[in-house]
């Protein structure tokens, strides 16, 4: 099927860019088909997402979520494991954050942030280790079990919110508001320290720095530690990993722990940073967007960072579209689907023209 080889640099840049271009082109056709102007839509989206510090703030807030979930999927992909369970793991992460924030009196947000991060990671990891264990030791297909675990997580959280955490007398299935002490500093407060003015409205907060730090941490883990080395070797070739004495079962479980922890960390941004309480739909599909982000970012933390910004832009720009043009937000879901389709499932199709191009150049 492959028309030839593509140099490495082109593989990590041209292929995803071409995929995204295809996805955008098809989306433009869709916008045109529903009687709107694709050009106006793009202008509005760029203006809405990058035209003001307000727009930037929302873009970065969404991007923070997507960095966490994108890293979660990417780490699993490095070991050739497809973790579709980011959604459920992030929900459980939210529960971890809520318990830490509600039941322990924190003197300062910084301590609370550390504890909440640990709680989020721990709960997310705990939710991921069961599918991981079942895959490693019982051969249960991890894609199916993680899907099932998303639904189980939603039911579990529903039960806890309705029957345990709900505020007495309230009809709303949500936890009480977290104490003011655990409110995370927002980006505008942080920038004010260095004298940069920034909109106070968007919920972007210090979790952004945590997300960027996790990009580095994941990069370090994958390319600078023995564990990462073993994860990558296992992902590249299972027979070779066996030859090198790398246990597939152990790596599978470790990878799922890390992946689940990263997905869980998303809750620090959304639950602790924005909502300040635990609600039913705390994750809002960000777990799934992680799949598109990881695929587009070629499973590299830096790529995940860039792809997360792109999707942050799409989400913020999409909200503007819904507001000012008669294009529903769900257009973004279409773009997301097309990105997954082209970068993930139709990869071979996207590569063919690029490979042919290089074959032509090489032939000369």
């Amino acid at each position: 099927m492959s028309a030839g080889r593509i140099p490495n640099w082109a593989d990590v840049t041209l292929v995803p860019l071409f995929s995204v271009a295809l996805a955008f082109a098809l989306s433009a056709v869709l916008i045109w088909a529903i009687g709107e102007s694709p050009w106006d839509a793009v202008k509005l989206m760029v203006q809405g997402a990058f035209g003001s510090s307000y727009g930037w703030g929302y873009t970065l807030f969404y991007a923070t979520n997507f960095i966490f979930t994108g890293l979660a999927v990417a780490v699993a992909f490095q070991a050739r494991l497809f973790n579709i369970g980011g959604e459920g793991q992030a929900l459980l992460g939210g529960l971890g954050v809520a318990l830490v924030c509600l039941y322990i009196p924190w003197p300062h947000w910084s301590l609370a942030l550390i504890a909440a991060s640990l709680g989020a990671a721990l709960f997310g990891a705990a939710w991921a280790i069961i599918p991981g264990y079942l895959q490693a030791r019982r051969g249960s297909h991890i894609v199916i079990t993680t899907i099932m675990f998303n639904f189980i997580a939603a039911s579990l959280l529903g039960y806890i919110l309705v029957n345990v955490l709900r505020v007495r007398g309230s009809q709303d299935p949500a936890s009480p508001r977290f104490p003011a002490e655990v409110a995370l500093p927002k980006l505008h407060e942080m920038l004010a320290l260095v004298g940069i003015p920034f909109s106070r409205v968007p919920p972007v907060n210090i979790s952004l720095l945590l997300a960027i730090f996790m990009c580095f941490a994941v990069w370090f883990m994958l390319w600078r530690t023995r564990l990462g080395y073993q994860i990558r070797a296992f992902g590249e070739s299972e027979p070779a990993a066996e030859y090198a004495g790398i246990s597939p079962a152990r790596i599978t479980i470790y990878v799922m722990l890390i992946s689940g922890a990263l997905a869980g960390l998303m809750a620090v941004n959304s639950v602790m940073g924005e909502q300040q309480r635990l609600v039913l739909n705390a994750v809002e599909g960000a777990g799934f967007i992680g799949i598109a982000v990881a695929l587009m970012g070629r499973n590299h933390p830096f790529g995940v960072f860039l792809a997360a910004i792109l999707f942050g832009f799409l989400y913020q720009g999409g909200a503007e579209l819904a507001l000012w043009m008669s294009i529903p937000r769900e257009l973004i879901v279409v773009i997301q689907a097309l990105v997954i389709l082209f970068t993930g499932a139709l990869d071979n199709m996207v590569r063919m023209p690029i490979a042919r191009l290089f074959a032509l150049r090489g032939g000369r």
């Binding site: 390319w223 600078r224 023995r226 073993q230 070797a233 590249e236 027979p239 070779a240 030859y243 090198a244």
Partner: protein, 519 residues
């Protein structure tokens, strides 16, 4: 279409042959798998095709069954030029194929497998009934007894093979091709198979038997063709040839590689094996009681055609496959299964392993050369200054030294493994495994797909390691490699040791006969 007189005569003359190939050539990239092959197989005979590994037998048969298309050449079936673009065309031309690896649906019954693709209509019931009747006839006629309702996964390998033959007969194949059919059979199952084949021949079927076992050729075939390095070198009437002549034709007059070496100075035994047995997941016995020992400072060569248990032996010793039996390392017993029988433990016990398949096992093709130098030794404290950090610079430095000493070209640790030529990939693996001066080096096919210059270098390195006091277990299908490197030679056939020879007291012909099961 009206035929002219001479054409008609030609047709009649040619149709004595069930199959005729004219000038078939097939290349895969730079590798010429089949070179200008012409062969005629007379109708109603059993025609053997013999050759060493990689002689091009399987490629030729794949062309006949429509898996590959020949680059050049012509196929005539019963005298008619025939195009075989896919398997369906082959079936229509009356060709049936029994592959080495069966193409059966494991959880289907025998009947379902037999009718698959050749059903007698949209509904199964009449097809199954018809097949059941036919199977009964065939069973009576050819000793092809199989329970038609048994599931394939419950059948022995010998019975599964009968199902493959039944499939071909159900499709009314006139020409039956069997690819290494006895590789998975016990001797009595093989004898049974030959009785079946003779019975089929008596019914006028034409049979092509691809094998490397000369005993089988002598026993059942009428004519035999010999392939070597992609070419058809000779065709003989079996009754007028001998195993010795066939072995010579197979092996050819090879340019013997001269390896400078002094006589070995064997020391204490490093590895002692007693009655090693392996049964694979299919229930086939792969090793049937292997006993041998290797001393420090000697190279023990294991000769044999691929698939006779050598790979399993290497895997057992490398900790990749459990086995039964007794094993001692430097006099101390070590486990062959369970805990302590894993690859990491074996490496810690100073057993190094150059695997037969470097691209599947020995290297991670997408890893840089330096990452591959650490592969399997990634727990080495020199690479891990602390528990959580791997020192990539130290590994790169180490890799550069190892690559330079092993003459890897280019000696660039930052290049991906897939970017090196086959020979240089192999040198990376060898550098990794040999530079640690292991007590025991397991090495499989060290020069497969390696160019001449690199072969010489690799052979010298192996001799150096021997002289430095390592014990080396060398598995190779290249007879001249075995002959020129080994201090002792053991021939494996069918999971057993056929015998031991000293290189100076034997020759390729004798080993070739032993490898073909003719002791």
């Amino acid at each position: 279409m009206a035929l002219t007189e001479p054409q008609m005569r030609q047709e009649t003359a040619a149709s004595d042959h069930a199959i005729e190939l004219r000038g078939i050539s097939k290349a895969f990239g730079p590798v010429q798998a089949n070179k200008d092959i012409s062969i005629r197989v007379r109708r109603g005979t059993i025609h053997g095709i013999v050759g060493e590994n990689g002689a091009g037998k399987s490629t030729l048969m794949s062309i006949l069954y429509g898996f590959y298309r020949a680059d050049r050449g012509e196929i005539l079936i019963n005298g008619q030029p025939t195009e075989i673009p896919d398997s369906l065309a082959a079936i229509r031309a009356g060709i049936g194929m029994v592959f080495q690896h069966f193409k059966l649906v494991e959880n289907f019954s025998v009947l379902e497998n037999v009718i698959l693709g050749a059903e007698a209509g949209g509904f199964l019931r009449p097809s199954l009934a018809r097949a059941r009747g036919l199977l009964q006839d065939l069973a009576r006629e050819f000793e092809l007894n199989v329970n038609p309702d048994a599931l394939i996964e419950d059948l022995s390998v010998g019975h599964q093979q009968r199902v493959e033959i039944l499939k071909a007969l159900y499709r009314e194949a006139d020409i039956l091709i069997l690819d290494e059919p006895t590789g998975v059979l016990t001797p009595s199952e093989a004898d049974h198979l030959f009785r079946i084949l003779r019975g089929l021949k008596d019914q006028g079927k034409t049979i092509i038997l691809i094998t490397h076992k000369l005993r089988e050729i002598m026993e059942v075939t009428d004519e035999v063709s010999v392939m070597r390095r992609g070419e058809m070198v000779a065709t003989r009437v079996t009754a007028q040839t001998s195993p010795t002549e066939l072995a010579e034709l197979m092996v050819g007059r090879k340019v013997l590689l001269r390896v400078e070496k002094t006589p070995a100075q064997p020391g204490d035994p490093v590895l002692q094996l007693e009655n090693l047995r392996v049964v694979d997941s299919q229930g086939v016995e792969k090793l049937r009681g292997i006993s041998l020992d290797i001393r420090a400072g000697e190279i023990l060569g294991i000769a044999g055609v691929a698939g006779n248990g050598q790979s399993e032996l290497l895997e057992v010793l490398a900790g990749l496959r459990p086995a039964e039996g007794k094993a001692r390392l430097r006099g101390t017993p070590f486990p062959l299964s369970g805990s302590g029988a894993d690859a990491q433990t074996r490496r810690a016990q100073r057993i190094a392993h150059v695997p037969e398949d470097r691209q599947r096992r020995g290297l991670v093709m997408n890893f840089h050369a330096w990452e591959n130098i650490a592969f399997g030794y990634h727990h080495d404290p020199a690479y891990n200054p602390s528990a959580w950090r791997m020192d990539n610079d130290a590994i790169r430095e180490d890799a550069r030294g190892k690559m330079e000493r092993f003459d890897v070209r280019p000696p660039d640790p930052l290049l991906k493994a897939s970017g090196f030529s086959g020979g240089n990939q192999q040198k990376i693996v060898l550098a990794r495994e040999m530079e640690r001066n292991p007590d025991l080096l397991l090495v499989g096919q060290p020069t497969r797909g390696v160019d001449i210059g690199a072969i010489e270098f690799i052979h010298q390195q192996l001799i150096h390691l021997r002289d430095a006091g390592s014990a080396i277990l060398l598995v190779s299908v290249e007879l001249d490699e075995i002959l020129s490197l080994s201090d002792r030679i053991v021939v494996m056939f069918d999971g057993r040791i056929m015998g031991e020879r000293l290189p100076e007291a034997t020759n390729a012909q004798e080993l070739g006969l032993m490898m073909a099961g003719m002791a």
